[in-house]
Point group: C2
DNA sequence: CAAAATTTGTTTACAAAGAAACAATCTCCA
DNA sequence: TGGAGATTGTTTCTTTGTAAACAAATTTTG
């Protein structure tokens, strides 16, 4: 007597299917996966893009603040910024007021790159909730904003 | 003339603050972070728990199907399962029908562990949307389920 | 049926991200 | 003032996850 589960949608998740952490992880992976199918290797990865985007809109932002806002740990931020510096996309400046800190700015080159990239980034973003109605999408966005405290 | 951004909530995210991928990432990190504050090092990590939970409810499930459902890549799944096997939590069986496949079952020991762990896991899960109203929480759950195709 | 293509899992090499320890600087207050 | 404690960033080590090449078994198809 053998009746094995053959496909993913036959799997019984029991209560797990309403666990927010679980759903959120699936949702994020799904977005990320589709991103590479659709956008491909479009030179800027989503993570890099958002870092550069935030620097563009907050020139001279400090590494620590950037990390807090994007929830990137300091150790990791150091590496990201160095990688961007190596590609000549950002420049670092030690402010006079506080010589521990580092203020980040985009190079002119990066400004162009980010502005271009923002076109396909937000185009993709707009397509993300395609299996939801426009209204559901708005609701979801609003709820997530409240959830993470961005409202 | 210097007016630097000092705190994370002064940061201008522009359109990024309604990008679903971005919000989803923040949300997931926030959940994960709080998880370790509240639950601490409660021997089973969220990832391990969900794998074991799904095996509990689908005994003899195949590695590939498990991976598809939890969106874990095959290469990674191999390592996870081996780690669980080393802890004597799961056993692997090659079915007669298809000798490429591996069917996974919990050891009796693991059944107890998972049932215990499920108590604190779902207790924590229930506390996750605490800054939302009960109704908002329900909506969010439903929208996410639809989003990931679990409805 | 036999060769080609696909599926399943493993291995190896690598990338992304976090933890802990550290150094430099700054803040606060006794 | 000056020393204790906090902040900021870096380094090193480890964990977590992915990518690509592979082997074995199965399915497809000519």
């Amino acid at each position: 007597m053998d009746m094995p589960i053959r496909t993913a949608d036959e799997v019984d998740l029991d209560r797990l299917n309403s666990a927010l952490g679980f759903l959120m992880r699936l949702a994020q992976l799904k977005i990320y996966e589709r991103f590479f199918e659709e956008v491909g290797e479009h030179n800027l990865k989503p993570g890099e893009f958002s870092v550069l985007w935030v620097i563009l809109h907050n020139p001279g932002i400090r590494q620590s603040v950037l990390g807090q806002r994007l929830m990137i740990k300091r150790a990791h931020m150091t590496k990201l910024i160095r990688a961007l510096e190596d590609q000549n996309l950002v420049s670092r400046r030690i402010p006079d007021g506080d010589r521990r800190a580092v203020e980040i700015t985009l190079t002119p080159e990066a400004v162009t790159r980010v502005e271009q990239a923002s076109q396909w980034f937000f185009t993709y973003e707009a397509s993300v909730g395609a299996n939801l109605t426009a209204d559901e999408r708005r609701q979801l966005t609003a709820l997530l904003q409240k959830f993470v405290g961005l409202d």
